[in-house]
């Protein structure tokens, strides 16, 4: 069988429907490729050929029996933050190196119900804390476009695997840009839905009020198919939105005539690399050609996003990660003198430096006497930023700008300077703080040939429109059709 490893999800569905390929053939193809490129890219943490092929076989049997699940037999790989019953789930940490999940997350359940076959678990920054994939206990993922560069983070494995044709699609999670920034770095389309659209049940929590699951794919059309499968109300997650299922593909074909694109002046100032500014400008010209109009908007409080984020996210993380105490599961130190010593050693050994840094920051900002000055203030900033966006949407339909201020950088170039690393998320964080949907799609390259992403930030629950916008752009351009030579 010869299979185009860069076939999109939509194309794969068609080939399966036309019986040109079977789920087992697809799974075998992608598993072989994953094995072959694992030493090069380190995209996966866990592959389990037996489990995957068993799932694929069931998909083929279902198809033979007339099952019409929308994505039946299409392979998908999951960020190693999603629990899947019986699969090792590490979250990129030594703490969970040998942890086998006892239940399956709702998102994976939903995707399995849509017929998708799990290829494996993807590498990531430890506990999703990082923007470069350098914090993974299992070693960094390489950017398939340039092995000396980072794939972005924290969903680095999710981006690299799709970009390298190890899977047609993957899941990620996005707490401060962890889907959008790696999507840009690896020339993919990635979407973080509105907070509450995808259930968080069974996804290891980093910052509960910011975390949201989303898809990676080559196209907006694929992201629409994937999100339609992932999303949905879940009684196991009290923050899940109780609303009917949506077909996110429904508006893909709409023309963009009259679409009002808001351009926040705060996203186009200094700090944006010239190559990125140029690519974004050219992409906006395409949008205008497609009938959209651009209007300047202002988000005056968005400059506080990074400081607000680095209070809220570590605060919640410090509490969320308390359960990793060596008592019930996860890493426990081999030797200890008493209970307190067991806690200290287990956590000191089990967590990496970046995770410890954030636990310390979070513990500090929540401590007595500091809570009001930090956590409470950060909460106020979140509301102010949300109000900024609300005003912007009075004059525009979507907000656009570069996804990140820099393209994929070299390994080691920021790992010694956390603040520099944190500033890479300067444009993405605001959508997590407000809970709005946001996505990134390929829109050009800089002078080094590194990929530039256009971020679309939508109003709440406006995913279908955002996917329509990106899809129309992709019909008119072919940035998203470029693949690395690997």
């Amino acid at each position: 069988m010869s299979w185009n490893t860069f076939a999109t999800v939509a194309e794969t569905v068609k080939e399966l429907d036309d019986k040109k390929v079977s789920a087992v053939e697809l799974a075998t193809h992608y598993l072989d490729r994953a094995d072959a490129l694992q030493p090069v890219l380190n995209a996966y943490v866990t592959l389990d050929r037996e489990k995957t092929l068993a799932e694929a076989k069931v998909a083929d049997e279902k198809r033979a029996a007339g099952d019409a699940a929308p994505l039946l037999g299409v392979p998908i790989a999951h960020k190693d933050i999603y629990l899947i019953d019986g699969w090792r789930t590490t979250c990129g940490s030594k703490m969970l190196e040998n942890f086998v999940a006892p239940y399956t997350s709702t998102v994976v359940k939903n995707m399995t119900a849509a017929g998708m076959v799990t290829l494996g678990k993807l590498n990531m920054d430890e506990f999703a804390m990082g923007s470069s994939n350098e914090t993974s206990y299992f070693g960094p993922v390489k950017n398939p476009w340039d092995l000396s560069r980072v794939p972005g983070g924290s969903s680095g494995g999710s981006a690299a695997s799709v970009a390298a044709g190890l899977t047609p699609a993957s899941t990620g999670t996005d707490t401060g840009g962890s889907i959008r920034q790696p999507a840009m770095f690896c020339n993919l389309t990635g979407l973080k839905p509105t907070y509450g659209v995808c259930s968080r049940f069974g996804i290891i929590a980093f910052a509960s009020s910011l975390d949201q699951a989303g898809p990676f794919a080559q196209t907006a059309e694929d992201c629409a198919l994937l999100l339609s499968a992932m999303a949905g109300f879940d009684t196991n997650d009290a923050t899940s939105l109780d609303r009917p299922k949506e077909n996110y593909s429904r508006d893909l074909a709409k023309p963009l005539t009259g679409l009002r694109i808001g351009l926040p002046k705060e996203f186009f100032g200094e700090g944006v690399a010239p190559g990125i500014a140029k690519a974004v400008d050219e992409a906006l010209a395409v949008y205008r050609k497609l009938g959209a109009i651009t209007v300047e908007v202002s988000l005056p409080n968005v400059k506080y996003s990074v400081p607000a984020y680095y209070v809220v996210a570590p605060a919640e993380a410090s509490s969320n990660l308390s359960r990793f105490d060596g008592v019930r599961y996860g890493h426990r130190a081999a030797e200890y003198t008493d209970l307190m010593d067991m806690y200290k050693r287990s956590r000191a050994e089990g967590f990496g430096a970046e995770v410890k840094r954030r636990i310390l920051i979070g513990t500090y900002v929540l401590s007595h006497g500091y809570y009001d000055a930090y956590y409470l203030q950060a909460g106020k900033l979140r509301r102010l930023i949300a109000e900024d966006f609300k005003r912007a949407y009075e004059v525009c339909d979507v907000v656009m700008g570069p996804t990140a201020p820099e393209t994929a950088f070299q390994f080691g170039s920021k790992s010694d300077d956390p603040v520099k690393m944190y500033l890479n998320d300067i444009f993405t964080i605001c959508a997590n703080l407000t809970g709005q949907p946001a996505m990134s799609h390929p829109c050009g390259v800089d002078e080094n040939g590194q990929h530039v992403g256009m971020q679309i930030i939508g109003n709440y629950l406006d995913e279908a429109r955002m996917l329509n916008v990106a899809h129309q752009f992709q019909l008119a351009t072919d940035w998203h059709k470029r693949h690395p030579n690997i």
Binding site: A238, T239, V327, R328
Partner: protein
């Protein structure tokens, strides 16, 4: 002692009667094998999330309405962060800044009949921790998470009690109320109703409170009384010896009757409270509030006044009968089965209570149910048996010798003799052997008559109608 004033406030953890846990679907039943009632949520597996059990909310609201408190229709769950093996998440979900129930209070009645209104600060929902098990393991400890996530309503008073007696009266009144409302089974042995008592002393007339110590986890009223008495004496002695009271948490040792500090508050924990991002603000809708209001049972105070007016009982009897729901319902069932209310009241507060106490049973466990007691009382009223014989019948019913009042009377031949011919015959026989008593009576000693009546009753094995015996003896000796 007289120059010292005692200040007491209580924090009571009441376990709510929901079948499942506060944030998961696991059972709350007591006594299962370790860790068999712990879901991925209770075990704090990665990725597990809490979901509010609305039954716990309803019970909290019910309590708030019963004590006239403000129901916060929007309350917040917070995380209380600390590490302990029986706290699987590393934090307890509790309500901190905005509890669901605020204010309100309870009226307590002391033994001397005086009443006092005890103001409550708040009542908030929270989850219980698991249990550490030390006995079964050699140099290690086990953790049982069956109890982890059990719903608790923590009820906090203002520091308004001024004696151990008031504290006990409050605890008992609260204990009755939560069972009345059917929100807590009140089982103190199983830990369903646990009291922490904050105690301080200050010179009489001083405005500022003294430094308090908190006595933890008292699981009986008797221990509570002993612990408070000891703690108060200890604090006064310390101060009189010129020592300072250090704020501390103390444990009561029932074997020695002493309290001992387990940790001082100087190394007080910083719990790093913050709103739990996994749980949206808890909203009690107007509809829910109205529905719970409509379903409220009659409360003890209202029941007490109704018992007085409707059944003509004394306030004291009405109070005793209305204090706990089971007794009240036993009483009304008996009365509704046709017996005289006052007689029923006397029986419940007398023979029934005494026997229950003796055998350490609750009224729900009474072998003589309300309908049987009603039948028994009816047989007294219609003259079939005397009070004294009724006690014999009651005992027979209690021990299960017979199934009905009439069957006991029949089988034991206990029916009262009211046939005057039969009584006269017995009287004549007694008088024949009682020359001395007759002489005394005729000499004016009234007591001698009672002695003769007693002999007649004895000869009739207690079955003769005492009033008739009295009349006949008097007539014969006149």
């Amino acid at each position: 002692m007289a120059q010292w004033e005692i200040v007491i406030g209580l924090e009571t953890h009441t376990q709510l009667t929901t079948a499942s846990k506060i944030f998961s679907g696991s059972s709350t039943a007591f006594g299962a094998a370790p860790n068999t009632q712990a879901s991925v949520v209770d075990l704090a597996m990665p990725g597990a999330l809490p979901v509010m059990n609305i039954g716990a909310v309803e019970r909290a609201v019910k309590f708030g309405l019963a004590i006239g408190a403000k129901i916060n229709q929007r309350s917040i769950f917070a995380r209380k962060n600390y590490f302990y093996p029986d706290l699987p998440k590393g934090y307890q979900i509790s309500q901190f800044e905005t509890p669901i129930v605020q204010g309100g209070g309870l009226t307590i009645t002391l033994d001397d009949g005086t009443t006092k209104f005890i103001e409550l600060t708040r009542a908030h929902l929270e989850e219980d921790a698991g249990k550490s098990v030390h006995e079964q393991f050699d140099s290690e400890s086990g953790v049982d998470l069956n109890r982890a996530g059990t719903p608790l309503l923590e009820i906090v008073t203002e520091p308004v009690m001024r004696s151990g007696k008031e504290a006990i009266a409050y605890a008992k009144t609260l204990h009755n109320l939560v069972r009345y409302l059917d929100i807590c089974d009140g089982n103190m042995q199983e830990g369903s109703f646990r009291c922490d008592v904050n105690v301080s002393v200050r010179p009489m007339g001083q405005k500022e409170f003294g430094t308090r110590r908190e006595i933890k986890n008292l699981n009986s009223f008797k221990f509570m009384q002993q612990a408070i008495d000891y703690e108060v004496r200890w604090q006064i002695e310390q101060i009189e010896d010129g020592k300072k009271i250090v704020q501390a948490t103390v444990l009561f040792n029932p074997d020695t009757g002493e309290t001992r500090a387990m940790r001082s508050k100087e190394d007080a924990m910083d719990y790093r409270y913050f709103p739990d991002p996994d749980l949206p603000p808890l909203v009690v809708s107007d509809e829910m509030l109205a529905r719970i209001k409509a379903g409220m049972p009659e409360l003890p105070e209202a029941k007490c006044s109704r018992f007085s007016s409707q059944y003509g009982l004394s306030h004291y009897d009405a109070l005793l009968l209305s204090q706990d729901g089971a007794t009240a319902s036993y009483f009304e069932t008996a009365v509704n089965s046709g017996a005289d209310a006052k007689l029923v009241a006397n029986w419940i507060l007398g023979e029934v209570s005494a026997t229950l106490n003796r055998e350490d049973k609750t009224i729900e466990q009474s072998p003589v149910n309300a309908v049987r007691l009603s039948n028994l009382v009816a047989r007294i009223s219609d003259g079939t048996i005397s009070h004294k014989i009724a006690k014999t019948v009651f005992e027979a019913l209690w021990s299960g010798e017979a199934a009905s009042v009439d069957a006991v009377i029949e089988s034991k031949g206990l029916k009262q003799i009211s046939d005057s011919g039969a009584i006269e015959k017995i009287v004549d026989e007694v008088l024949e052997k009682s020359a001395a008593q007759i002489a005394d009576y005729k000499a004016g000693k009234e007591k001698a008559l009672m002695s003769i009546v007693g002999m007649v009753m004895k000869a009739s094995q207690g079955k003769a109608n005492p009033a008739q015996v009295n009349d006949i003896v008097r007539r014969k000796l006149a």
